[in-house]
């Protein structure tokens, strides 16, 4: 299975601090995506990084990708209580960019 693994499984920080979560995967990919899930809701797309990119920014989000290590990290800067959610990475199947596999997620708690 291509399913990735997120690390840590849970993270608790104070508002204003940065949050970093990591994702590792198993086989070659075309792109890697990060999604957010608020409790009991569907997932919402945050950011996509392609296999030929090393870093990407979107607002307070910074994503890095190291294809040699088959890993990615998501950094949320200056976190807010509203960032409390679960975060998942998703990878494609390499030879099928429309088949997506998700990791087990990192549960982030931002304390006000």
């Amino acid at each position: 299975s291509q399913q990735g693994e997120e690390d840590p499984q849970a993270l608790s920080i104070q508002e204003g601090e940065n949050a970093t979560m990591n994702c590792s995967y198993k086989t070659s990919i075309n792109n890697l995506q990060w999604y957010r899930q608020n409790s009991g809701r569907g997932l919402v797309h945050l950011i996509l990084i392609r296999s030929n990119e090393r870093e990407k920014h979107s607002g307070r989000l910074r994503v890095t990708l190291d294809t040699s290590k088959k890993s990615s990290s998501l950094l949320i800067t200056a976190s807010r209580a509203a960032d409390t959610a679960s975060y998942f990475c998703a990878t494609d199947e390499g030879n099928n960019f429309n088949k997506f596999y998700f990791g087990s997620g990192t549960k982030l708690n931002v304390k006000p």
Binding site: Q3, R41, G42, L43, F97, N98, F102
Partner: protein
């Protein structure tokens, strides 16, 4: 929720009964997916469709079948529900186009098999 409707939102059924979950989209997207979400496992792909009558298996397809007779509807059927299929089921859609691969998710169906 990007024009995606899942029904029912909640379902309680008994072991051995057939169950069908429906995903309806108004976006006319080519790709549709069914995932299940369980604690500790994240989301796991059950089946997906890349067009009318075109489907493929995911990583946990045993015990599930799907059908897509119209672009807008993707049905997931549990032929004979088991307690291990108690889960939250999410439908997702995608344009299927390179450079626009992101998924849009429905609100989920909570299924309990007793």
């Amino acid at each position: 929720d990007a024009g995606i409707t899942q029904s029912p939102r909640h379902k309680v059924t008994e072991t051995g009964t057939p169950v069908t979950l429906r995903c309806h989209q108004t976006e006319n997207h080519r790709y549709m997916y069914w995932y299940r979400q369980d604690p500790g496992h994240g989301l796991r792909l059950i089946h997906y469709s890349y067009g009318v009558k075109d489907t493929d298996k995911g990583e946990v397809s045993d015990g599930y079948s799907v059908s897509r007779s119209k672009t807008e509807d993707f049905l997931l059927t549990l032929e004979s529900a088991t307690s291990s299929q108690t889960s939250v089921y999410f439908c997702a859609i995608s344009t299927g186009q390179l450079a626009n691969e992101k998924l849009f998710f429905g609100s989920g169906t909570q299924l309990s098999v007793l």
